[in-house]
Structures are given as C-alpha cells and as structure tokens.
C-alpha cells in the first residue's frame, strides 16, 4: 500500500537495525510516549529485534488508559439518564467503571453510540432536538481540536441539546512530570508523532534544555520507530540532547496552527488527574468560560463523582515505565482483556493489552 508499505519494508528495517547495533555501546532506557507506538513495537516485534541493551519503556500516551476511573463513572451516570444519547469513540466503551462499562449499560438499553468524530455527535444533536446528546471527549492534543470545533459549531448554531464530557490531556506536561520524578529512569524519548502533527515540537525545546534529554519526534510504522530509535541512541551515545524530527513527512516545528488557535479559543489549560499517575500541573484542557454552557459535567451535575482506582491494579507503574506489564502479578491471571482491572488492559494501545495479545504465549 502506497505511503505505508515502504515504512514496513523488511530490508530498510534490517539496515536500520544494523545501524542501531553499530551505534549502541552501552545500555539505554528509551520511552516511546504514544500508545500507538507501543502497539506497533509489540505487534511487529521491534523490541525483540533491537539489541538487548536497549530497554524500551512504554509511556503514558494511550488516551483510554490515562482517563481516570471517575470520568468513566461520570460517563456512566450521564448515559444512564433517560433522554440522553451518549456518544463515544469505540474503545472507551469497554473500559470498566466502578460497577460496569458503557457496553454493559448499552446492553441494558441505554442509548450509547460509537461515533468516529465529535462532529457526528453534533449532527445527531441537530437531528434529535428533543434529546440531550453528550460526547465523551477524551484523548490528547490529537483529538481535542475536533472536539473544540464541534463545541464551537454548537455555539454558532445555538445548539443547546449538545454537550461534552471533557477529559483531554496534554503530552508535554506528563513528560515533564515523568522527568522530574525521583523514580525516573528514562534517558531518551520517542515523541508522539500524531500529537506533534497538531502541536508542532516547539514545546519540547525547553524540556530538552532543562532535563538534558534527547527527544526524537517519531512516527508509527516499524521503519519510523527504528529510525527514531537510531536517532535517539546516536544522540545518547554522542552526548547530545536535541529535539529531532524523524516524522518530518507529517510534522513541522509549528504544527497545525489553525487547530492550535481553535484549542486556545475553546479550551483553557488546567491541572488534571491522570489514571495511575495522579494530579499533573497544567496537563489538562477544560472548556473556557465562553463555552462553559456545553460542559456536560455541569449540565448533568456529575462533577462531584470522585472514584478511587482499584488497589491491585498497578497500571500507574506500567504507565511510568516502572513495571513491565507481564511482571505484574495480576497479568493474565485476574486481569485479562475480558475482565480488565485497569484501562491499560482494555485499549488495544494499552501496554498490558498489547503484551497480552502478542506476548502471552511465546512460540
């Protein structure tokens, strides 16, 4: 397939693997930030191909995984209400709340629908004026602009039966939080290519300067990831700390500026709770005052729901790279994709689910 096959070409991959082997003289801990990268690494077996001295740490960049339990419970509470059409991206439906998941609630008769874009939810609202249509707005800077656009359009259209349950998170603050943690072992980052497509990579320059760590903005195909790793290891070996852009076919330094302007207009940066990681300053987005009318938390009075995470789920350590999924005592025992303890086992991008799917039996 054009534009993808060349980034999965085994010959190119082999060349990059040779280059990685040649440049690596000592062990390094490198974190891929994005869940899409984790999935690709495990699916294609990249971690088995690279030198053993390179330790890949799977980062917190899976939107489903880092959405706190209390937001799932808020979503369930809203979706339970009569007269509500609750819309969500597909993979949020299987994330367990305190008592059930959205799929279970749907089976009991709640009107819960999978949409591919928040704009589809807005359209549903216009078609169902007598209903309240709520969109579950989760994800990073990648999904936030489409939510911003939907809310902005709802305002322009005076669409009062639409609202959004917002739990958007930002990547640079969580990288900063990881780096400033006393447990940090990360020595280099593969930056999240999709997020940088929107946001550019100017936000990483201060991080590189403050923490003296290389960040290589990287794509998602095997060749992308291998090239990202090569560039990152080369910097580490040469003692350089720079922002490099492996994903230059998509990412520019300034990113998608109209999308950024829309984000600034509709959202305001706030402190945000992350599943397993706790409160991280300046790491979330909330609707700004001008758009507060479309805030589902207020409209349905669920802001006070504040659930605690299950104690035996160690996804927080997995998300910080302190624990490999299959080293968790609950992995594939009490925690499986059918009965997940935490969200890292639910999403196909979650590190635990990726390990379960591709690693629970070795050939």
């Amino acid at each position: 397939m054009k534009f993808v096959d060349e980034y999965r070409d085994p010959k190119t991959a082999k060349k990059l693997l040779n280059a990685i082997e040649k440049v690596t003289t000592q062990p390094w801990n490198i974190m891929e930030v994005c869940g899409g990268q984790t999935h690709s690494i495990i699916k294609h077996g990249i971690d088995q191909l690279i030198p053993e001295s390179i330790n890949l740490i799977h980062g917190p960049g899976c939107p489903v995984c880092v959405t706190p339990l209390q937001y799932i419970d808020k979503a369930l509470e809203i979706a339970k209400q009569a007269n509500v059409i609750f819309c969500s991206f597909g993979d949020m439906l299987r994330v367990p709340g305190s008592e059930q998941d959205l799929l279970g609630l749907k089976a009991q008769g709640a009107d819960i629908r999978i949409v591919y874009s928040p704009l589809d939810a807005l359209k549903l609202a216009q078609e169902n004026q007598q209903k309240q249509v709520v969109f579950f707005a989760v994800g990073f800077e990648t999904t936030a602009p489409t939510v911003a656009l939907a809310v902005h359009q709802a305002k322009q259209l005076n669409c009062d039966n639409f609202s959004v349950l917002v739990c958007h998170v930002r990547v640079p603050p969580v990288m900063k939080a990881l780096l400033s943690s006393k447990n940090n072992t990360v020595q280099g980052f593969l930056g999240a290519g999709h997020v940088c497509t929107i946001m550019g990579y100017h936000e990483y320059i201060p991080l590189v300067e403050q923490y003296q760590i290389p960040i290589v903005i990287t794509g998602f195909e095997p060749v992308d990831i291998l090239q990202g790793l090569y560039l990152c290891i080369k910097q580490l070996e040469e003692g350089r700390n720079e922002v490099e852009n492996q994903y230059s076919r998509v990412v520019s330094q300034q990113g998608n500026q109209p999308a950024q302007r829309l984000l600034q207009q509709v959202f305001t940066v706030v402190d945000q709770q992350w599943r397993g990681l706790g409160q991280i300053p300046q790491s979330g987005l909330a609707l700004s005052a001008d758009y507060a009318h479309w805030n589902a938390e207020q409209r349905f009075s669920v802001a006070s729901i504040n659930t605690q995470e299950p104690k035996n789920c160690r996804s927080g350590e997995v998300l910080q790279g302190l624990l490999k999924p299959d080293a968790c005592p609950e992995f594939s025992k009490s925690c499986t994709p059918e009965h997940p303890l935490g969200a890292t086992m639910v999403s196909s991008e979650g590190a635990c689910a990726a390990y379960y799917r591709y690693r629970s039996h070795h050939v």
């Binding site: 899409g36 294609h44 999978i114 591919y116 999709h194």
Partner: protein, 322 residues
C-alpha cells in the same frame, strides 16, 4: 461471549455425537448416503450493501456451510421474520436476490415460513435458511483429517465483507467503494472435488475472519499452523480502511473466502484448479501445518521476521480513538 454461550449452555443442553463434532454442517448417515445439514440466521444492518444484500447473504452463507463439508448443495429453506411496515418493494428485491443466487447455484428453495412481528420488535427483516447437501462417498473433510506438512490455502483476498458493511453502516465514503466478497463457494468446491482433489479440511472465514477460523481449527486438530503475513492477499483500499479504523484485517469477516488444508503433494494441483474459477483467481498458499511444540496454536511470521501467536479476540473490534 457468543462462544461462551454456545460452549456453556447451548451445546451441553443438546449434547449428542453429531452436534459435538462442531462442524459448520452436521453430517448425517441416511440409508447409506451421507447428507450435510446446516442452518444459519441472518441479521445484518444495512440490509442492502455494496456487493450484495441480506437475501444473497442468506443463501450464500448456507451454501458455503454445506460446501465446506464437501457436500453438493441440494435444497434450502427460507424463513422470514418481517417487522410490520417493512417496505414490500424491498422485500421483493431481497426475495428475488435469494431466488437468483439459488438458481445460479442449482439449488431450490423448497420450504419456508413467514412471521410478521409488531413495529419496533424486529430490525426490518431477519432471515433464517437451512440447507441439505449430498457428500460424495470418497470425501472426508474435517479438522481431524489435517496432517503435518499440509499446505494452508485461501481462495481470495481478505476482509472485504466486514469493511464494506462497516463503511456503509457508518456512512464513511471511500474514493472507490469497497464491495463485499459475498459469494457462493459451492461451485468452486465442487470443481475441486470433481477433479479428484481431496482437501483434508475446509472452513469459510466468516465472523472473526481468517485468524479466528484458523485458531478454531488449530485447537480442534491439535496441530500448529504457521502463517506467513506477507503472503496474505488484502486489497489496498481494504488495508487503508483498516488502518484508518484501527482494525486488524485478519479478524474481519468474509463471506466469499475460505481456507483449505491439502497435502503438500496436491497443493499445486489444487491451486491450478482454484485459479480456473472466478472466485479462486487469487488463491495462494498462506502457510503450513507443523507438529512443532505449542500444538493447537497459530503463529504469524511477520514481514519483520518475528513470529507471534494469533489469539482469539475477546469481543468485537472497536474503532480506536486516534
């Protein structure tokens, strides 16, 4: 979930020697002849889709279940559950499609039943078909016939049906519309059997796609199947749709695609025979059966040269966030 329901409640309740073989068709010995007997219900949204409709699907699905046991299909039934208010012209079109598909396959729809349910108690139209076919004397197609060294062959490209339905249902437009592969495979299978070729086992790759079909057969036969990722035919537009939606094409439903197991010595002859037929032009070897450790498993050799195990998906694939 559905498999759990079948394994924990349905099968134990009805348990008998024929049912417990878990074939798509039951094989019945009647007066010295072997009959294949199968039934399937069709519930699909939308009722009309690119490449077919619920009527064509209901006939092809049952013909294919019969064909996978090596049977020549003879007769099928048609039961309709119609929701009150369903458009007569749509019903006529669907019935015509059933009649044409049956006629092309040389089978007759010989009995049936019609029920109308109240508005809101059905989703437009549900169809059940059952079918019987005659299995030639020399044919013995079952998981237990699979042998070490067998070649694993598929007849055509993967994942078209599931993706076509998904795109239609969700109103996602692709530049070129992807058509369901919905087709009657019985003619193709008969050609092979009439040519004296004897596959050890066959399975149509419907719900759960190639991966689920192979995993079920590996479990039943207790052999290890090695599949080569680069040999799998998948249309570019289907690949693109899977990339965008975050789906794995190996787990997507097909309605005109089947896998067969044949001795290595017969592999080329089978391929030549399949290539003669419209539905087998893309037929190719995708892997082989081994008796390595980890019996009853399917492993995929990826393009990168890594071997990974294919697992049954729990639940349906859900579109990814980003």
């Amino acid at each position: 979930m559905m498999q759990q329901l079948i394994d924990s409640i349905i099968q134990p309740t009805f348990s008998n020697d024929i049912l417990n073989q878990k074939h798509d068709s039951a094989v019945l010995n009647v007066n010295g002849s072997r009959l294949a007997f199968t039934t399937d219900s069709y519930v699909i949204k939308p009722l009309f889709f690119s490449g077919g409709d619920i009527g064509k699907l209901a006939v092809c699905g049952t013909l294919n279940d019969l064909a996978m046991s090596g049977a020549k299909p003879l007769y099928i039934t048609c039961s309709l559950i119609i929701e009150e208010g369903f458009a007569i012209k749509d019903l006529q079109q669907i019935l015509l499609s059933m009649q044409q598909t049956a006629k092309q396959a040389g089978v007759h729809i010989v009995t049936g039943d019609t029920k109308v349910v109240d508005k809101g108690k059905g989703d437009g139209l549900f169809i059940n078909t059952a079918g019987i076919g005659l299995i030639p004397e020399e044919v013995s197609i079952q998981a237990s016939s699979i042998q070490t060294g067998d070649h694993i062959i598929i007849n055509s490209d993967l994942a078209r049906h599931g993706i076509a339905i998904m795109l239609e249902r969700e109103g996602i437009d692709f530049e070129n519309s992807i058509q369901s592969d919905c087709a009657d495979l019985s003619g193709l299978v008969q050609d092979m059997i009439n040519a004296g070729l004897h596959p050890h086992c066959m399975r149509d790759l419907t719900r759960g796609g190639l991966a689920s079909g192979l995993i079920e057969l590996a479990t039943a036969s207790k052999y290890h199947f090695e599949i080569n990722e680069t040999s799998l035919p998948i249309q570019d537009d289907v690949k693109s749709a899977c990339e965008i939606l975050g789906f794995d094409p190996l787990y997507i439903a097909n309605e005109g695609c089947f896998v067969l197991f044949v001795a290595e010595a017969d592999s080329e002859k089978v391929l030549n025979c399949l290539h003669q037929h419209e539905l087998g032009k893309q037929a190719c070897v995708i892997g082989k059966v081994t008796d390595k450790h980890n019996k009853g498993m399917v492993s995929l050799e990826t393009a990168m040269g890594i071997s990974r195990v294919l697992d049954l998906f729990s639940g349906e694939q859900l579109p990814r966030i980003c």
